[in-house]
Symmetry: C2
Subunit: 233 residues, 2 copies
Amino acid sequence: MRIEVLRKSLFETNDKAASENRRILDEHGVVAVNIMGGAGCGKTTLLEGVIPHLRHDVGIGVLEGDLATTKDAERIAALDVPVVQLLTEGGCHLTATLVEQGLARLSLPQLDHVLIENVGNPICPVNFDLGEYARLAVLSVAEGDDKPAKYPYLYKAASRVVITKCDLLESCSFDLDHAVSDIHALNPDVPVYATSRKDFRTMMPLVGWLRSLCNREGITAIGLRHGAARRPN
Amino acid sequence: MRIEVLRKSLFETNDKAASENRRILDEHGVVAVNIMGGAGCGKTTLLEGVIPHLRHDVGIGVLEGDLATTKDAERIAALDVPVVQLLTEGGCHLTATLVEQGLARLSLPQLDHVLIENVGNPICPVNFDLGEYARLAVLSVAEGDDKPAKYPYLYKAASRVVITKCDLLESCSFDLDHAVSDIHALNPDVPVYATSRKDFRTMMPLVGWLRSLCNREGITAIGLRHGAARRPN
């Protein structure tokens, strides 16, 4: 019983900060995307793929979540976009409070998007609203086509799903149709993009979607909808 | 402040069950190995690789941790060893309490080893003692050679490290020496095995180590040492 009370309190603190983040982002007309997936699923590589195609006409800032290093932020800084490293110091997910601190370091009036790379973990980050507008779930072909069924909450809460490392489809015996079918069983109609770092053209649908978010409407409404739907039972 | 108190209470409950697990395992002369690593890093495939080489002269039982499905337990059951599926229902790690329930379903007098496959997550499981004798950390080549530095706690607490999917070394530009060097910076002298499901001979050092555990001494002493060392600050 006491444990339940504490979890509620922990979520309440997070939700309060998430609402504040949403308000600040909305005020500046900035769209935040929460990018989630397991360790090594290719989240940073995906950012390296799409940012060069966006940064000349879309103002992009990046928040990089990590347990213990600044390795990913260094890779993003090389793309010449503002980036802030959020260190969880062992924590398994980003919190809205940490994101709030990160947003304060970015010059929001100059931005259209804040791309938030969460900690590499397909489970815990899903439970924490960061105040984002959309959620991107990332699955690597090397993880296996059984993973959508095994980690359902990540896919249920996603606005878009990206399947990375598709150059390894054959060597990993990954059945793309099977994976997409399992994803759609969890989240009907969610668009799924198949990508490979070896062919950056595969990232263009994701680039197109991110660009389209600049013309979004009803940020708060959609944000709240995500907020309401995000917790697995 | 309240949050700290609760976390402590949560760990205390777990530690009590872990001690009880250790006592029961010790009483039956059974060695438990806690297998940890990210989603899709190849933990189940590793079990499929080593169990056929052990099961004729080593009594093996398996506890399979998963969020939502029995997929992995079905794969292990096909190897003709007793297996119990532990469902966390969304939880990001196994607890000693869940393992205690699993152990109660196994016929311990007939076993030498209990292999515990944790939930696919390189972060949270590390904080929970299950009463195990040894910890096996698993890293897939597809995750990238920067992951030991990025997820240090998993490697610090490991008795052995396995690097899987080594048939993908080249296509994933994975520098094995770099990864091993980073692992040894965290955990000097820990043996690291490089494996591939495409060549089961690569799993023989792991088979040899598991076999050697049947002749272990001082279970409780080593168990306690792990217990004391397991929490990242």
